[in-house]
């Protein structure tokens, strides 16, 4: 197993962990954490691919992508947390009611 494969496999595992967390956790903050773990998985795969492609240096394009991805993720996370905060102000809870989902 090469280093690339090891970390790519770790990406798959992290992806599953994050997804599971996103699905089963009801608190919004934890859902966001789940998404961030999924994000880490994606970044891991990209960096692993960059590592696989290294010549004098590792492939800089995935690196740039991951940097962008990290910034995007923190943006979305902050927005989600601000929303969660306001939902808490309005409704007193940080969960979403389930019955709205079906309608």
């Amino acid at each position: 197993m090469s280093t690339f494969e090891l970390y790519a496999a770790l990406a798959a595992v992290l992806f599953a962990v994050g997804l599971y967390g996103f699905f089963v956790r009801q608190e919004l903050v934890r859902k966001v954490v789940g998404l961030n773990i999924i994000g880490a998985a994606v970044f891991l795969l990209l960096i692993a691919i960059a590592y696989r492609n290294r010549g004098d240096f590792a492939d800089p394009v995935p690196h740039a992508m991951v940097l962008t991805g990290i910034v995007v993720a923190v943006s979305a996370t902050a927005l989600a947390l601000a929303l969660a905060r306001r939902i808490e102000d309005e409704t007193g809870t940080r969960r979403l009611p389930e019955d709205e989902e079906s309608s």
């Binding site: 990209l46 394009v61 992508m65 995007v72 929303l83 989902e101 309608s103």
Partner: protein, 497 residues
């Protein structure tokens, strides 16, 4: 600034910056001006495409694979035109919709709205001209964040919760898409769509799985059944112009990426069963969305559920494009699907604006409260009716032509089951449009007080509705434009390798 690409990107984003920083009442007017300018740029690009064929543009002078290249064929040009046209009219509408709020030192929806609005326009433009997998991701992300912020603008628990659902779904979808992109990069080592198209031949499993991730993510963003649950409340609780644009354009943007990848890039990798599966989900969406629309009591929720149904039609395109066994792709299915996108954009825009007008005037949007609408808001009723016609796909709307094309493809490729779906969808949409129209015709137990509606709101939705009708009267030019760049090769002379 000698290329329309530059203006398409520059104008809205510059407008977003300026309107965010500058105070003053001129802000909405500036937004309007810029949307009109964007329309002009889209027109420019479309005429270039029309005369010279597909256009390309290398940002920063860096050609693919290292740089990011832009690309526009007939499809992009039409969608850009649609986008700026709908947004221009919605901007007109917003002049009236937000006008009541005094622009003082305190926070107003109008002031927060304008820059977000222009950013949304910019990100739509960026998306429709992108030829780069990762650039598409960033554009989609811009779109999502702007969309969520605009939904939350309405305030109140419902809108906030709806925005939250939207954000969670879209965030997950983005990550799925990005995972797919990572795998594709791992497989092909490039991000440029044209280069991937050259390299992609099907075969190994990795690209197929990567595509599954990409399409799953985009399917969530396009509210494909069963990933649609986030859509109805998000679209229904946003401010009216936002609802209009979310349903008319933003959902279509995600679909556009699917279409682009499916048809232009990975035509050899996608299989007939996958196409049938996409069609089946689309069909389920048509039925489910329509049934929900029949059950809802609130006008905007009916319209929002109808979006789920109408998105379903778009996915019927995939099984129809190639037919069951044959390899040759079908222009009628392609054109029908894209034309449906356009026609629905105008019709749904008109419907949401009209619904917003009713909400504005009556203070609520219960269907039962729409009684006497023909007398209180006749122009809005007319726009409602016309947009309803377009939604059902009756002539002479653009959707009729779209349906005609899709039906032709269905029958010629001997996939009668999709014809049944289209027929059933037509009747179901007829039923929920009927609910609304008949409520409007029910006389006249008027509410005691009706908030006076600025004329510009009524006429904006009327013009949108009439456009969806106009698309049905003359389709020759749009169809000719659609043929530019199709059948598909994204490789443009001078750009790419």
């Amino acid at each position: 600034m000698s290329s329309p690409f530059e203006w398409l990107i520059f104008l809205p984003f510059a407008g977003g910056v300026i309107t965010f920083l500058l105070p003053g009442k001129s802000r909405p007017w500036l937004a309007l001006l810029l949307t009109v300018g964007t329309f002009a740029a889209a027109w420019w690009l479309a005429s270039d495409v029309w005369r010279e064929g597909p256009q390309g543009y290398a940002l920063g002078g860096w050609e693919a694979p290292l740089g990011i290249n832009l690309y526009a064929d007939g499809l992009s040009a039409l969608l850009l035109l649609t986008t700026s046209a709908v947004m221009t009219l919605a901007s007109f509408y917003s002049l009236g919709y937000f006008s009541r709020e005094a622009e003082a030192s305190s926070w107003t929806e109008a002031r927060a709205f304008v820059p977000l609005w222009l950013f949304l326009l910019g990100s739509l433009n960026a998306l429709f001209v992108s030829r780069d997998l990762f650039n598409l991701y960033v554009a989609l992300e811009l779109l999502t964040i702007a969309g969520v912020a605009l939904v939350a603008l309405a305030g109140g628990a419902t809108a906030l919760r709806a925005g939250m659902r939207y954000l969670l779904a879209a965030f997950l979808a983005s990550l799925l898409y990005l995972m797919g992109v990572a795998l594709l990069y791992g497989e092909f080592g490039v991000l440029d769509l044209a280069l991937i198209a050259e390299a992609a031949e099907g075969g190994t499993r990795a690209p197929v799985i990567a595509l599954a991730f990409v399409f799953l993510g985009l399917g969530i963003k396009a509210a494909l059944f069963p990933f649609h649950a986030w859509l109805p409340h998000a679209h229904a609780s946003a401010p009216a112009p936002v609802s209009a644009v979310l349903s008319a354009l933003v959902v279509k943007a995600a679909f556009y990426v699917i279409l682009r990848l499916w048809v232009d890039v990975f035509a050899d990798s996608v299989t007939a069963p996958a196409a049938q599966a996409a069609g089946a989900l689309g069909a389920a969406g048509i039925l489910w969305g329509s049934f929900q629309a029949l059950r809802e009591q609130r006008l905007k929720l009916v319209v929002a559920h109808s979006t789920v149904a109408q998105v379903g039609y778009l996915f019927l395109l995939f099984p129809l494009l190639t037919g069951v066994g044959e390899g040759a792709w079908r222009f009628d299915a392609w054109a029908g699907g894209v034309y449906h996108m356009m026609s629905h954009a105008f019709a749904k825009g008109a419907l949401f604006l009209a619904a917003g007008t009713i909400l504005y005037a009556y203070g609520n949007d219960q269907i039962s409260a729409m009684r006497g609408l023909t007398r209180t808001l006749p122009i809005t009723t007319v726009s409602f009716g016309i947009a309803g016609i377009a939604l059902v796909g009756l002539p002479p709307s653009g959707s009729f032509i779209a349906k005609w094309m899709l039906l032709t493809a269905t029958i010629e490729s001997a996939q009668w089951w999709w014809a049944v779906v289209i027929g059933a969808g037509t009747l179901l949409s007829g039923a929920y449009v009927y609910r609304l129209v008949s409520a409007a015709f029910t006389p006249d137990t008027l509410p005691e007080s009706i908030r006076p509606v600025p004329r510009v709101m009524e006429y904006a939705s009327l013009i949108l509705a009439l456009t969806s009708l106009g698309l049905g009267l003359r389709a020759a030019e749009p169809f000719d434009l659609l043929e530019v760049g199709a059948p598909f090769s994204m490789i443009v002379a001078g750009v790419g390798t």
